[in-house]
């Protein structure tokens, strides 16, 4: 799995304070520091649902909101700015998915499983997983993306999505089961 190193760089305190006051160079530094992470998250949230055309807009809107509310970010030494920014991006993605109201399979409907002859085709396997991701409820997808690619722990995901940590674990487990089913894992057949 693609995982971010635990020590992914964070913006230094001084630059963050300047960005909060609207300093152009500091704002630019902030975007530079977090743009890849935000873009990756938004791309993985919207891309599988055919909303690729909105990725740049949503990523941009994320940063505009960050600038507007940066002075509210609580620097208590525990919260990471990256987590806070990814939270904003995630919520925007969920709102965008809901607003798009694209026809998609009902959450209870299982995605088509990979045919046995495609089991060793890497591209087909990835496409199957992406298609399965598109059938997940947006919050479940967000839990999966934040955990799988952004190394957020359960508590951070729970705080980001306003959920109980236990709910995060169960949603992650359900999401992974559905993806395994899409890969044709016999243990998950019929149990999405």
């Amino acid at each position: 799995m693609t995982s971010r190193p635990a020590t992914a760089p964070e913006l230094d305190t001084l630059t963050r304070a300047r960005a909060a006051r609207g300093d152009d160079r500091a704002c630019r530094a902030l975007v530079e520091c977090y743009q890849r992470r935000v873009y990756a998250l938004v791309g993985r949230m919207l891309g599988p649902r055919g909303l690729d055309g909105l990725v740049a807009d949503v990523a941009q809107e994320t940063f505009l909101r960050v600038f507007r509310h940066l002075d509210r970010f609580a620097d208590d030494g525990r919260a990471r700015l990256s987590t806070w920014i990814l939270t904003i991006a995630t919520r925007l993605c969920i709102d965008t998915i809901r607003a798009a109201q694209r026809p998609r399979p009902a959450p209870s409907e299982a995605p088509p499983a990979l045919r046995p002859d495609q089991a060793h085709d890497r591209r087909a396997r990835l496409a199957a997983v992406q298609a399965a991701i598109a059938t997940l409820p947006p919050e479940q997808q967000a839990v999966l993306v934040l955990r799988a690619w952004h190394d957020l722990d359960y508590a951070e995901i729970a705080a980001a999505l306003d959920l109980a940590p236990g709910t995060v674990k169960s949603r992650l487990a359900r999401a992974r089961a559905r993806l395994r089913h899409a890969l044709g894992d016999p243990k998950t057949r019929g149990t999405p």
């Binding site: 152009d24 704002c27 975007v31 740049a56 941009q60 940063f63 890969l183």
Partner: protein
């Protein structure tokens, strides 16, 4: 064994932002500019609040008044569109004379940062320096200050020590010279004695001195403040409260910058060591003129047809003499032969019993051409240096010699 699902997820490459994504975001966030007159008004109020708090004087682009300082602690002063930072111990007065900013600096170190079209006449005990739009440091008689802290004894003669050192970081400074003025350019350092000719140190000025960086940081803070004030001008009723908060923020940042500056200085001292002050009772033989004369005599006695002295670096103790002896036998044999010649000659000239002699040779091509070069140092035993002082001197000599070589690499 890894999870097959994780393997598949790992194959999903990160969607990446377009190259101009940052520009797009910055363009989307750009606020509508406030009316110009309101911005200027608000900016001046804000700047006055902040600079007044810092103990500085702000007059915008108004004519520079006369003033004088005798600093006990570092002071930052705005002069028209320019600025200076005076180190503790600096004595300075300034005034507008015939429409030109004119300053008299008689003591200490001061960094000047002039606006692009601003001219400064700087009078010192060594003569008048003139600069336009430059950034430079003027240090008056640093050796005199070493009298208080020098580790080697009694006072040094005033005639020997009084000198101005100018280090240019940006632009050009015209220094007094025997025939009018001589330019000292960015990256150069020159010494101008009271009664002697200008001599350039072959040591390059540090590319980004701490104070220069601090000034840049202060300018960046001012720009940040300007942007903030532009925003505030839309809501003047809140301006007072927010400016006070801004002032506190800026003060905190200034404190952080100062702390970072001190850390940087300490780290540099750790690596480079402190410069060695000139001993107080040093004979004229070991000064710039004495060393140049002695080594010229030595080269003359050796009858090297191309032998010459390229530079005598007396920016700190001991002086290092850099010379050229022309084409010699290549390889180790040439180095050994040169060593034997020099050793014999310097022993004869200085007296082997009473001196330590340190030298190195190089056949690397540099700005002075191909052929063999030497760098030499003579230290009188009478100084009775401790082991620690020897180690410190050795560290500094290696550093200075490397700086000389770096500065003289072929273009």
């Amino acid at each position: 064994m890894s999870d097959p699902l994780d393997e598949v997820l790992g194959e999903w490459a990160d969607p990446t932002p377009p190259p101009d994504f940052i520009d797009q975001v910055m363009a989307a966030r750009a606020p509508a500019p406030a009316p110009r007159h309101r911005r200027r008004w608000a900016y001046r109020i804000a700047a006055a609040v902040v600079l007044f708090a810092a103990g500085a004087i702000w007059l915008g682009d108004a004519p520079v008044p006369s003033g004088a300082i005798d600093t006990q602690s570092r002071q930052s002063i705005t002069l028209g569109a320019g600025r200076l930072v005076a180190e503790p111990g600096a004595t300075l007065r300034w005034a507008q004379v015939d429409g030109v900013l004119t300053a008299h600096q008689t003591r200490g170190a001061v960094v000047y940062r002039l606006a692009p079209d601003q001219t400064l006449r700087l009078r010192t005990p060594s003569g008048e320096f003139v600069a336009t739009g430059a950034c430079f440091e003027m240090e008056i008689d640093p050796m005199a200050s070493s009298l208080k802290t020098g580790f080697m004894g009694a006072a040094l003669g005033a005639g020997l020590t009084a000198a101005a050192f100018v280090t240019v970081y940006d632009g050009e400074v015209r220094a007094p010279a025997a025939h009018g003025a001589e330019p000292v350019r960015a990256g150069e350092r020159a010494r101008v004695p009271v009664d002697g000719p200008l001599s350039r140190s072959d040591r390059r000025a540090a590319p980004a001195p701490d104070l220069h960086v601090a000034l840049k940081a202060a300018q960046a803070e001012r720009d940040a403040l300007k942007a903030e004030v532009a925003e505030l001008s839309a809501a003047p009723e809140d301006a007072r409260v927010r400016l006070q908060a801004e002032k506190r923020n800026l003060q905190n940042e200034i404190n952080e910058l100062k702390a970072a500056l001190e850390e940087e200085k300490a780290a540099r001292r750790q690596v480079e060591g402190d410069p060695i002050p000139f001993p107080d009772d040093l004979s004229e033989t070991y000064t710039e003129a004495g060393q140049a004369r002695a080594f010229r005599d030595i080269l003359g006695a050796l009858e090297y047809p191309d032998g010459r002295i390229d530079a005598v670096d007396c920016s700190e103790f001991p002086c290092i003499v850099h010379g050229y002896v022309g084409q010699r036998e290549p390889g180790q044999a040439g180095h050994r032969a040169l060593f034997a010649d020099l050793e014999k000659a310097w022993k004869g000239h200085f007296g082997a019993k009473n001196h330590a002699f340190s030298w190195s040779t190089s056949s690397q091509k540099d700005k002075h051409g191909e052929g063999m070069k030497f760098s030499a140092v003579v230290i009188p035993h009478a100084l009775k240096l401790s082991r620690g002082e020897h180690a410190q001197m050795h560290k500094r000599m290696m550093l200075r010699q490397q700086q000389y070589r770096d500065a003289n690499r072929p273009e």
